[in-house]
């Protein structure tokens, strides 16, 4: 199997981006959306998530380990490319470039986001509506959050398109065009959910 390591890493990287990291992204955004319904709804949703059975196991195996592998191996992939959109300004080449850019932006954003919320929670801070409201009270941080959210949703949606190709699900050009439209729809919908939720904290 030693010779096949790159093959396995790449396939795993593609899979983990969708399951579980992509699934987690959707759950996370949907739970955040409780903020739109008001302070009480959000706080009770956060409490429900915090009190999930096997919380630490879920966090480690569904979120942190897959995310770390995807992020670190992803950075290695991102910096291997030599971008050439100025010569070949095709749609897919731009998506290729944006996929790498948004990946790097998402890693930077997440490092900050995890530090400010999960790490602070571990250090004793209470995660609730007020915590988020305080964070995004700074307009620069709010802008950073919106950039981070859009980068993450783009990276997920376009990554899902690439997942279908990488695993050999969409082979024909037509199926790849249809899945472009499908994932574009997912991008728009998830971006709405994510941005609407963060704006609820203002």
């Amino acid at each position: 199997m030693a010779g096949n390591r790159e093959f396995m890493y790449r396939k795993l990287h593609s899979l983990l981006g969708v399951i579980p990291v992509g699934i987690f992204l959707i759950v996370h955004f949907v739970v955040n959306y409780y903020a739109v319904y008001g302070v009480e709804s959000y706080n009770s949703a956060v409490q429900f998530m915090e009190n999930l059975p096997f919380r630490y196991l879920l966090e480690i195996f569904v979120i942190f380990l897959p995310l770390l592998f995807h992020a670190i191996y992803g950075l290695y992939i991102a910096f291997q490319a030599k971008h050439n959109t100025s010569t070949y300004g095709y749609f897919r080449n731009w998506m290729f470039r944006l996929q790498r850019w948004t990946g790097v932006i998402t890693v930077i954003f997440l490092a900050w986001h995890v530090w400010e919320t999960r790490v602070q929670a571990a250090l004793g801070a209470t995660v609730d509506f007020n915590m988020m409201a305080n964070i995004v009270a700074n307009p620069f941080i709010l802008a950073f959050y919106i950039v981070g959210i859009v980068a993450a949703t783009f990276h997920f949606a376009n990554g899902l398109w690439a997942f279908f190709v990488t695993w050999g699900i969409t082979v024909t050009p037509r199926s790849q065009v249809i899945s472009t439209y499908l994932t574009l729809g997912i991008f728009v919908a998830l971006t709405f959910v994510g941005v609407r939720a963060i704006l609820a904290f203002i």
Binding site: G3, N4, E6, F7, M8, R10, K11, I77, F79, Q80, A81, K82, H83, N84, T87, Y88, Y90, R92, N93, M95, F96, R97, Q99, A162, V165, T166, W167, G168, I169, T170, V171, T172, P173, Q176
Partner: protein, 253 residues
């Protein structure tokens, strides 16, 4: 009376290790020239635009009808064959550069050895030699022959590697051309008997999974080969091959 001319800006370099530089040339206009006939004109009289004697430009060529792939170079920013690059259709000054993805031997001539090495690596042929006559092979369905024929048009010209953002000095990726050849030879009813072996090679380092789906290759290919369809089809084949390897299968060959 001012004579119509053709202007060139050519990126030159003396040998593999020396630094590239640009030199301008101007030749009298003639009808129906291609880049190669213009380069031949410059070879006859290698004087640059400022009137200084220069050296003849080195380039590679063979068939002159876009089937051998040898004369590929970057013309006005895009890699293509210089034999089918017609002067009357090009914007002037015409900029000629070597395909830098490959080692430059001199001027516009590059060394495409890596592509031929890749074809050897993936065994892009059908082994039929034996000690006795094996008789006719299995028949190939006509519908399959038709799409496989498209893949056989590959002339190893290197344009897809030049266009690919993942084929570069930082990456071990073998590039789209040899991948598509695996699909071609795996589609052949006799070639299929070595299917597993070819897929295994693609699953090794520098293989198929290095593709980042920028899909420049399919846009750049001068022969219109459906390279990204080949890549996606091989993604499916290697996925199934990895399942067969791991979980076990009697269909593993």
């Amino acid at each position: 009376m001012s004579q119509k001319t053709i202007r060139f800006i050519i990126t030159r370099q003396a040998d593999t290790s020396s630094a590239p530089y640009k030199e301008e040339f101007e030749i009298p206009y003639r009808e129906n020239m291609n880049v190669i006939s213009a380069l031949m004109e410059l070879r006859r009289n290698p004087v640059n635009s400022s009137g200084t004697n220069s050296t003849p430009i080195t380039w590679d060529m063979s068939c002159l009808e876009e089937v051998c792939g040898a004369c590929s170079m970057v013309i006005n920013g895009k890699p293509r064959q210089s034999c089918t690059a017609l002067i009357d259709q090009l914007e002037q000054p015409i900029r000629l550069e070597p395909m830098r993805t490959f080692p430059v031997i001199r001027d516009l001539m590059v060394d495409r050895t890596r592509m031929f090495e890749s074809l050897k690596k993936v065994k892009a042929w059908i082994p039929i030699d034996g000690t006795y006559d094996l008789g006719p092979g299995p028949r190939m369905p006509e519908s399959k022959r038709q799409w496989a024929y498209e893949l056989s048009k590959c002339m190893t010209c290197g344009v897809c590697l030049e266009a690919c953002p993942n084929v570069n000095s930082k990456s071990p990726f073998i590039g789209p051309a040899p991948l598509s050849q695996v699909r071609l030879f795996n589609a052949h009813p006799t070639g299929e008997m070595n299917r597993g072996e070819r897929l295994e090679t693609l699953m090794g380092d520098g293989g198929l999974t290095n593709c980042g789906n920028s899909q420049n290759c399919v846009q750049a290919c001068p022969k219109g080969i459906p390279l990204t369809t080949s890549i996606a089809a091989l993604n499916r084949d290697t996925t199934l091959q990895s399942f067969r390897n791991f979980f076990g299968s009697d269909n593993n060959i």
